[in-house]
């Protein structure tokens, strides 16, 4: 286990593995997403209540899930980097942030688009919406902190600490609906979340989710590869790796 971690932690090794894995994830993502979209838009039955409006769920829910999932990943990578001083982990964490922010933005955008017909307004100061917005701020904060520190070493450590502190907010965001409900106005979401979903609808949703995950994996590996190359720009293996192409 240890040697494995350390081996993976060595940039050239990581670079090689990542280079090999990326296309797999990429193609898998493409296949799953295309299939999911097709299924979601044409195959899945129309919702008896919302008619076709509900179909945006196939983008909304996966991106909302990913926004949280990526944050947890980022924090884990950051923690590994901080504790064992593995630069590669920092590189991965740094690579996660913009992707996570994009998915968060996507979740917000699709949610808003959905909200307009459903609730008659683009935006409501409801717990879940607000906490998702806060997640976007968390990502922005992480990226801004990195950008604000010139020294790479310090930027790594400082932003890692921030990512770890920020994890506290993830469960709050995830369970905000339940908590807030008990405290305050019955959430508009529970109505929509009609728990037991029709399996015909669910399968395409899961497919989209898997597709988004693969997409994330492909992008994060690509970004991390670039990051690793950049950081090791004056080392021999980088030159070899680039010439080998």
């Amino acid at each position: 286990m240890w040697t494995w971690i350390h081996k993976l932690g060595s940039p050239p090794h990581f670079y090689r593995i990542a280079t090999r894995l990326t296309p797999w994830f990429g193609w898998a993502a493409l296949l799953l997403i295309v299939a999911g979209i097709y299924g979601g838009l044409y195959v899945a039955p129309t919702d008896y209540q919302q008619l076709d409006g509900f179909r945006i769920i196939y983008v909304h829910v996966p991106s909302a899930s990913l926004s949280l999932f990526i944050y947890v990943n980022m924090a884990l990578a950051a923690a590994v980097g901080l504790v064992w001083r593995i630069k590669l982990a920092h590189a991965i964490a740094a690579a996660c942030a913009p992707i996570g922010a994009s998915f968060t933005f996507l979740a917000l955008a699709t949610g808003s688009i959905w909200a307009k017909p459903m609730w008659g307004t683009w935006w409501v100061w409801d717990a879940r919406l607000t906490s998702e917005l806060v997640l976007l701020f968390l990502y922005f904060g992480y990226m801004a902190l990195r950008a604000a520190i010139d020294d790479e070493n310090r930027a790594d450590r400082a932003s890692a600490l921030l990512a770890i502190i920020g994890v506290i907010n993830v469960p709050i965001i995830k369970y905000s609906v339940d908590w807030w409900n008990t405290l305050h106005q019955p959430a508009t979401l529970s109505k929509l979340g009609k728990p037991s979903m029709d399996p015909d609808m669910l399968i395409w949703l899961l497919m989209m989710l898997a597709g988004f995950m693969c997409f994330f994996a492909a992008v994060v590996l690509t970004r991390a590869r670039a990051e690793v190359l950049l950081r090791a720009r004056d080392q021999r293996w980088v030159r070899q790796a680039l010439e080998g192409r």
């Binding site: 701020f137 902190l145 310090r154 450590r157 600490l161």
Partner: protein
């Protein structure tokens, strides 16, 4: 290894010195309080001062003001110490940095947070906050303001190396502090509408415990990075 003074002694010493420094600047002392009062007096001015409206927004104003006041104070929590080099010496002292930073934050709360708590009935009165909601609000503020200070302190420690990381600071603090605001305002709201606010208060207390036990280490780690 030399005999060094115990943790308690060091803690008290640090709190005392920070209070001493604060009292040397009566102005600085009054600052967050002033701010708090300003927010709450300016509001009625900027609005049509209808009691019904004021009453409806009173908890919001009170809580947002408290949050902003602590947030703005957080900005300067460690900046001066880092700039004048005393933080460097603190990091090199044989006392645990986490403890010393906790002491600094507590001193800071005594200067900035406690006055807010004490003043809140007056401000509440000015905003026509129902009298029943006042004790709950005070307790909630007393629980919430230290959390705000502790979180603000951790983020300040992270950004203090960056000259004027101010905007960054609020960007970092806001998301983490939001639950505190929500539960705090909720407690006031519940007390106003006659619901038992114990649940929200317990939650705040739990958050405070969590913050006291975790943030000092985060602060110390962040500060060591900033000093590097």
């Amino acid at each position: 290894m030399m005999d060094i003074p115990g943790l308690g002694t060091a803690f008290v010493l640090q709190v005392k010195r920070d209070l001493q420094l604060a009292f040397r600047h009566v102005g600085q002392l009054a600052n967050p309080l002033m701010f708090f009062i300003m927010v709450t007096t300016l509001f009625p001015l900027a609005l049509n001062p209808m009691p019904r409206l004021l009453e409806a927004i009173a908890p919001g104003v009170l809580w947002v003001a408290a949050l902003l006041a602590s947030l703005l104070a957080a900005e300067g929590l460690f900046r001066q110490d880092v700039d004048d080099g005393t933080m460097e010496q603190l990091a090199l002292s044989p006392q645990p940095l986490a403890l010393m930073l906790l002491a600094k934050t507590i001193a800071h709360w005594l200067i900035t947070g406690l006055p807010l708590v004490i003043m809140s009935p007056v401000v509440g009165y000015a905003l026509f906050l129902p009298r029943d909601a006042v004790p709950t609000t005070m307790i909630a503020l007393a629980l919430a303001t230290p959390i705000l200070n502790l979180v603000g302190g951790s983020m300040a420690a992270l950004t203090v190396g960056l000259r004027r990381g101010g905007g960054l600071l609020s960007l970092l603090i806001l998301p983490i502090v939001m639950p505190v605001l929500i539960f705090g305002a909720r407690a006031t709201d519940m007390a106003m509408t006659g619901v038992d606010p114990a649940g929200a208060l317990y939650l705040l207390a739990a958050l405070l415990l969590l913050a006291v036990s975790l943030t000092p280490f985060a602060m110390a780690a962040a500060m060591r990075i900033s000093l590097d």
